[in-house]
Amino acid sequence: MEIAVAMSGGVDSSVAAALLVEAGHTVTGVTLRLWGGTSDSGCCSASDVDDARRVAQQLGIAHHVFNLSEEFHDAVVQPYIDGHAVGRTPNPCIECNRSIKFDLLLDRCRRLGFDRLATGHHARIVERSSAPTLRLARGADPLKDQSYVLSMLPASTIAALSLPVGEMNKAEVREHAVRLGLRTAMKPDSQDVCFIRSDEGREGFLGSRLGLREGTVIDQETRTIVGTVPAVQLVTLGQRRGIGAGPDGERRYVVGVDLATDTVEVAPLEAALSATLHVVATSVTTTGRPLPIDGKVIVQVSAHGRPLDAMLVGTPSGFFVQLAKPARLVASAQTLAFYDPLDPEVVLGSAIVQ
C-alpha cells in the first residue's frame, strides 16, 4: 500500500514509519508545520521537523513538510483562546486531530493518492464481525493509550487509518527505535500543548493574548470571600490546585466560575462531585454504530482519566450522561470519550461537555 505517515519528530511516529517500511509498504513521511510562533515541544519546532526528516532519510523514504499554520491557528489556537475568554477549556489536541490531522491532512493524502494515513498514536484499529468491521480501540500500553484523543473520529476516517505502534508498549517502541539507530529513540515524550512554551506556560500564553484578570474566591456555603486567584480565566471546574483549604482544614474545590463577576466559588469535595454530565447535542460523534441511548457505556473525561461506568439517559434533544458514582466536576468544553462496556477496549464515540 501507499501510506503517508504523519511524522512529528517524536519516537512513536518514527517507529510507526519504520514498521510500515518493514512491512513492505511504500511510505512517505509528512511533517506538519502548525505553529508560526515560538515553541519548544510537540510537533512545531524546526528541530522536530529536522528529527523527522533525519528519520525519514534513515528509513530511505521521501519526506515533505506541510505548512498548515494558518489553518491550525484558526481551528485550534484561536478557539482555545476564545474558549478561555468565556470560561470554556477546549482540548487543543482533540481539535487539532479533528480539524487538521484527520481532516485537512487526511483529505490531502487521499487526493495525493495515498491508500492510508498512519500516525504514531497509541491506539489500535481492531476488526469485529459486524459493521463497521474496523473499530478504534485502546492502545496496548495502558499508560500511553491515546484512544481518548481520537474518540471523535468517524468510521470513514478510522477505515483510512493505520496505527502501527498501537500494539506495542512504549518500551518496545523505544527498543525498536534503538535497534534501528533512529535519533529519536530516547527523545522525551512531548508534554502539554504544543503551541505553549514550557517557560511561559498557560498563564504566559493566554495572559499575553487575553489579559488575565484576578478573581475573588467565595465559599459557596458561607458566601464569604476566602481569597483570590491571579487569573480567573484559567480556573477550571473541579480544580483543587491553588485553591487552598477551608477553615475546617479540608481541601476546597472549584464548583463554579463566573467570568461576568470574576468570582470563583469553592466548596468541600462532596459539593464538587456530580453524577450528571450534560453534553452539547451537536457535538456528539460516533465511530460508526449508534450510541446506546438508555444503555450502559464506559466514559473517560480526560486523556488519561479513569474509565467510569455510566448510562446515556435519553432526552428529547439527545442524552445526558449519568455516572454510576459521582465524580469530580468536568470543565465546560472538555471531551467525553465513550467505550463499549461489552467490548471495553473499543471506542463508541464522543461528546463535548456543555
Binding site: R33, V49, V65, R108, R111, L112
Partner: protein, 377 residues
C-alpha cells in the same frame, strides 16, 4: 525526470567538472603561502578574479570572493554603511521584492544607525525608476536586484542608475545580479552601478562561492575580520578551486548565452502555453520582461503545497518560491508585494528552466503537470 528548479540551483556544468576534478588532488595550497604550492593556488585564484572582473566590466581588484550571494548581500549592506562616515542616520533604499539577504541585513541595521525604505513594485514586479530616485535623495545605499528570483522580472537598471545619480550623486548603487547572471551581459546590465552580487552555483559552478564585485572605487569596509586574506577585506583562507570553478561557469554561460537564451525562452514559452491550455494556469509576470528560464504560474483554485508533493511523486521538481528553515512553504513577500490575492498565492508555483533543460524535459513536465492537476481537481 524533469528538473525545473534551476533558479534554486542548477547542475554543475560539465566544463566546470572537467576543470575542477584534476585540481582537487593537487591544488591544495594556501593562496597566502609564500611558497611554490601557495603561489600556484594564488595564481589560479587571481586568474579567476581577473576573468570574472572582466565579464562584469570591473577592475581586477574589484572582485571579492565570498561564500555565496547571501554573504555578498550582507557584506554590501554592512560594508557600505560602515565605510561611509556620517554622524546622521543612514538611509538604505531598496525594493519590497528583494532577496531576504538584502532585506533582513538592511532591517537589522535599523536597530543601530539606519532607516530602510522599501520602494514598492507594480503588479508584475517592476520598480519605477523615478519613484526609486525620489526615495533615494541623500541615501547612503540603493540596492535593487537585477532580476527577481521568484518572478524572473528584470528591472530597468539603466534608468534606475541614471535617475538615482541625477538626484543623489553620492549614493552607492548595488544590484543583486545572482539570478540575472546566467542570462544577461553583466557589464552592460550593471552600467552605472558601483557594486554587484554574484553566486557561483546559479551559474553552474559550485556551492559555497560567490562574489561582491566593485566596478568603481566605492569604499566597502571589511566584513569578516581576522586575517584579511581576501584583498584585506575578508578574512579566511580563499578557495582557489571554488573561484576557478566560478570563472569557468561564468565563461561557459557567456559563451553559450545567445544560443541558450533563445532556446530556453522558446521552451519556456511553449511550456507556459501548454500549461495554460491543459490546466488553465496563468503566468504571473506576463507582460514584463522576464528571464528566459522563469515560468511563475498560478494554478487557480489549487494548493501549491499539494501540487509540489504530487509533482515530486511523479519525478518533477519545482518550488513554491521561498522555504523556511523547516522546509515548509511560506507565504512569499514577493507575491504579496505584487498584490497577488491570497488564494492565488496558495496556488503559485515557480518552474525555472536552466542550461541543462531539454525539449524532452518540457514534454515530460507538461504531461506530468496535466495529469497531476487533473487528479488533484
Amino acid at each position: 525526470m524533469p528538473y525545473l528548479d534551476h533558479a534554486a540551483t542548477t547542475s554543475v556544468r560539465p566544463e566546470v567538472l572537467a576543470a575542477v576534478e584534476p585540481l582537487l588532488a593537487t591544488l591544495y595550497g594556501n593562496p597566502s603561502g609564500g611558497h611554490a604550492i601557495g603561489r600556484e593556488a594564488r595564481r589560479v585564484l587571481d586568474e579567476a578574479r581577473e576573468e570574472i572582473a572582466d565579464f562584469c566590466g570591473a577592475p581586477a581588484q574589484g572582485v571579492m570572493f565570498t561564500s555565496g550571494g547571501t554573504e555578498a548581500d550582507n557584506w554590501v549592506i554592512n560594508g557600505v554603511l560602515d565605510a561611509s562616515a556620517t554622524s546622521e542616520q543612514h538611509r538604505i533604499v531598496t525594493t519590497n521584492i528583494e532577496h531576504k539577504a538584502i532585506l533582513e541585513a538592511a532591517h537589522k541595521r535599523e536597530k543601530w544607525d539606519a532607516l530602510v525604505v522599501e520602494v514598492g513594485v507594480d503588479g508584475l514586479g517592476r520598480v519605477d525608476p523615478h519613484e526609486m530616485a525620489d526615495a533615494s535623495r541623500g541615501a547612503t545605499l540603493v540596492s535593487v536586484m537585477a532580476a527577481n528570483n521568484e518572478l524572473g522580472t528584470i528591472q530597468d537598471l539603466r534608468s534606475i542608475a541614471t535617475e538615482v545619480r541625477r538626484v543623489s550623486p553620492g549614493t552607492v548603487l548595488h544590484t543583486d545580479a545572482v539570478q540575472a547572471a546566467p542570462w544577461l551581459d553583466l557589464a552592460e546590465l550593471t552600467q552605472g552601478f558601483d557594486l554587484l552580487t554574484l553566486s557561483s552555483h546559479k551559474l553552474g559552478g559550485l556551492k559555497g562561492t560567490g562574489c561582491l564585485v566593485s566596478r568603481t572605487s566605492v569604499k566597502v569596509a571589511p566584513f569578516l575580520v581576522g586575517g584579511g586574506q581576501e584583498l584585506g577585506l575578508r578574512a579566511g583562507t580563499q578557495d582557489a578551486i571554488g573561484a576557478m570553478a566560478m570563472a569557468v561557469a561564468l565563461r561557459t554561460a557567456v559563451a553559450e548565452r545567445d544560443e541558450a537564451t533563445s532556446r530556453i525562452a522558446m521552451l519556456r514559452d511553449r511550456f507556459l502555453a501548454e500549461l495554460a491550455k491543459s490546466t488553465g494556469a496563468t503566468s504571473t509576470a506576463q507582460g514584463a520582461t522576464v528571464l528566459p528560464g522563469h515560468a511563475h504560474v498560478v494554478f487557480p483554485g489549487m494548493v501549491a503545497e499539494e501540487l509540489l508533493v504530487a509533482f515530486d511523486r511523479a519525478d518533477l521538481q519545482a518550488t513554491a518560491g521561498s522555504s523556511c528553515a523547516s522546509g515548509a512553504t511560506e507565504s512569499s513577500h514577493v507575491l504579496r508585494a505584487i498584490g497577488l490575492d491570497r488564494l492565488a498565492v496558495r496556488g503559485a508555483v515557480r518552474f525555472t528552466l536552466g542550461h541543462a533543460t531539454t525539449d524532452l524535459d518540457i514534454d515530460e513536465a507538461c504531461s506530468i503537470i496535466g495529469r497531476v492537476v487533473a487528479q488533484l481537481r
